[in-house]
């Protein structure tokens, strides 16, 4: 290839003019990637929003079963980790390799902490059978309850009287399903809920959907956390092999960006799933 000055510099790939061009490219690439990540989660948030708009009662009901204090704890943990990794970038820029290793280790520890807290939460739900739809079984009699709803729904579906409700049904376009839920509104189906330790709340129909969404969102986020941990372990090994001694901090910077996003998304999850009712 053409003999450029940088041909020696091990950190610059052959097809780049110089280190800056490479850094700029990596940075832009990362930002675009983060944009796709946001859209990815955006889809789920959208589904959440639509379903919530149609059945607010389900979410009000569901969020009582999440432990706010554990959620808050996790939020704090992640914010700390964001801080440590930001600092790690600085360390890498200043070639403070020992500090860099410590900070990366700390971030990794935070991430692990986050996941273990999530584990506690999940296992609690598992015990009470508060799982996604097909595995949802807090009480035995819910099953029949639901079947019954289907029937009444089917009847009213065919009988003439429901046609009154049809005009707005058409105008509204994207409106809630008419047959199953509407035929017997949430209140009608409410059953007193004697779950020990929980305040008594009337369980609306289809409450399980809340938990499905909960597991989808937190699960997907969890996977991203795992990915982040992998990336940080990789950085650590690089640091040990002295990859950052030359002050080449691009990789650390990229992982940090990614990690901030993972953190940000969690804050939204905490808001949407644990807090608002």
């Amino acid at each position: 290839m053409t003999g450029h000055a940088h041909a020696q510099d091990p950190n610059v790939a052959h097809h780049f003019e110089n280190a800056d061009q490479q850094y700029q490219s990596a940075k832009l690439g990362m930002w675009v990637f983060l944009a796709t990540e946001i859209l990815f989660f955006g889809g789920l948030f959208c589904a959440y929003a639509v379903y919530r708009a149609n059945h607010p009662e389900i979410f009000v009901f569901g969020h009582h079963f999440l432990d706010k204090s554990l959620g808050a704890l996790n939020t704090v943990i992640l914010i700390c980790s964001s801080f440590t990794i930001a600092w790690a970038v600085r360390a890498a820029q200043l070639k403070q390799i020992r500090l860099l290793k410590v900070l990366l280790a700390l971030t990794l520890a935070c991430a692990a902490g986050f996941l273990s807290v999530k584990y506690v939460e999940y296992s609690h739900k598992w015990k009470h059978g508060l799982l996604w739809a097909s595995r949802y079984s807090p009480e035995a009699h819910h099953g029949e309850q639901r079947d019954h709803a289907e029937e009444t729904g089917a009847e009213s579906a065919a009988s003439g009287e429901t046609t009154e409700s049809s005009p707005e049904a058409v105008q509204e376009g994207l409106e809630r399903s008419k047959i199953a839920p509407a035929a017997s509104g949430p209140a009608g189906l409410a059953v007193a809920d004697e779950r020990p330790g929980e305040e008594i709340v009337a369980e609306p129909k289809n409450a399980q959907v809340y938990f499905s969404i909960y597991f989808l969102l937190t699960g997907l986020h969890g996977i991203h956390v795992l990915g982040g941990m992998g990336a940080m372990a990789w950085l650590l090994s690089l640091a040990r092999r002295g990859a950052f001694d030359t002050g080449h901090f691009t990789k650390v910077d990229m992982v940090a960006l990614y990690w901030h996003l993972v953190d940000l998304i969690w804050i939204y999850l905490f808001l949407l799933l644990y807090l608002i009712d």
Partner: protein, 330 residues
């Protein structure tokens, strides 16, 4: 917008001929002309621009084709005036197209208040039309020159009711009511298709629209409705077998379709999916119709829809009588 109004009024005053053209099937509903003239209008626009482009293209190829002694001549490589012309003229045209498309759509979707209402149920893969007096038929019968509103829903997946001759189409979405309306201008028989893909027999989910001459419709409904009285139970059961969609999944010649054949099941012992077995008596058959999933026949999927609330007891009795007749046990 004002003159657009006038123009559209003029155009909606078009003669409502029914004769089919190269492009369009016969036109037999009051809203059909909205579709047809806009179709022809867009067609005209399209043909014009298509010819413009292709003719110019061909002329240039002939005129400027590379050959001995022919050089590319200098000419400007951009021209604001031209660019604006060929952006703005199409723009104006599409605004017109959009406006009339929307106007026609409103007329096609907002049904008159006094419309005669028929309930439509779609289910794999047959239609059932419920008339105000509760009578159910697998074909759509309608009076001529009288607005009819269809209130539609689906028992399983999405279907779509499509009558080319009326230019109407509307999806049947499970868990929701959708509406369509039409006013037929000519008595006769027209095709009704299912336009939304719904599985194996999607392309056989076809019904007939029978438009009755003035006065005839009421007579037809009258005598069709009390078939339970006019017919023998067996005949009535057979009619129900045809119009309530059993036919779709059950043969009466012994061959298995989506469901087991109904030939000779009565009194016969059925092996069930759960390993047990049962003698098909009146109660079992009644159950099979109202709660099909309760006892599933071995070797079949539990896909039979429940007729719970959609079928009268007398009708079930009639069906049972019919099934008996198939087993030769009267």
């Amino acid at each position: 917008m004002m003159d657009l109004q006038i123009a559209s009024n003029l155009l909606s005053a078009l003669p409502e001929g029914t004769e089919p053209s190269m492009w369009m099937p016969p036109r037999v509903s009051t809203v059909a002309h909205h579709v047809d003239w806009l179709f022809n209008f867009i067609l005209a626009v399209s043909v014009f621009f298509f010819l413009l482009i292709v003719v110019l293209m061909v002329l240039f190829v002939i005129r400027y084709r590379r050959r001995e002694g022919h050089q590319a001549e200098d000419s400007p490589s951009h021209n604001m005036a031209l660019e604006l012309t060929w952006s703005l003229i199409p723009l104006a045209l599409v605004v017109v197209i959009f406006f009339f498309g929307f106007k026609g759509f409103l007329d096609m979707t907002t049904s008159p208040a006094n419309a005669y209402e028929i309930l439509v149920d779609g289910q794999k893969w047959n239609w059932s039309f419920t008339y105000p007096n509760g009578y159910v038929d697998s074909n759509l019968h309608a009076p001529v020159q009288r607005p009819v509103r269809l209130v539609m829903t689906s028992a399983d997946v999405i279907h779509s009711l499509y009558v080319p001759a009326f230019r109407i189409k509307s999806d049947l979405v499970p868990g929701r009511y959708s509406k369509a309306w039409f006013e037929a201008t000519e008595p006769g028989q027209y095709e009704l298709f299912c336009a939304e893909y719904c599985g194996t027999s999607h392309s056989d989910m076809i019904a007939q629209v029978i438009v009755h001459p003035p006065g005839e419709f009421e007579k037809w409904l009258e005598q069709a409705s009390n078939f339970l009285e006019t017919m023998t139970p067996v005949e009535a059961g057979f009619k129900l077998y045809q119009v309530r969609g059993c036919q779709q999944c059950h043969s009466v010649d012994g061959s298995a379709k989506t469901g087991p054949t109904l030939l000779g099941i009565f009194g016969h012992t059925q092996a069930l999916a759960d390993g047990g077995s049962i003698v098909a008596d009146e109660n079992y058959i009644r159950e099979s119709i109202l709660e099909p999933a309760a006892r599933v026949v071995a070797g079949y999927e539990p896909v039979m829809p429940t007729y719970q609330g959609r079928i009268k007891d007398e009708e079930i009795t009639a069906i049972i009588e019919y099934l008996k007749s198939l087993s030769g046990t009267e």
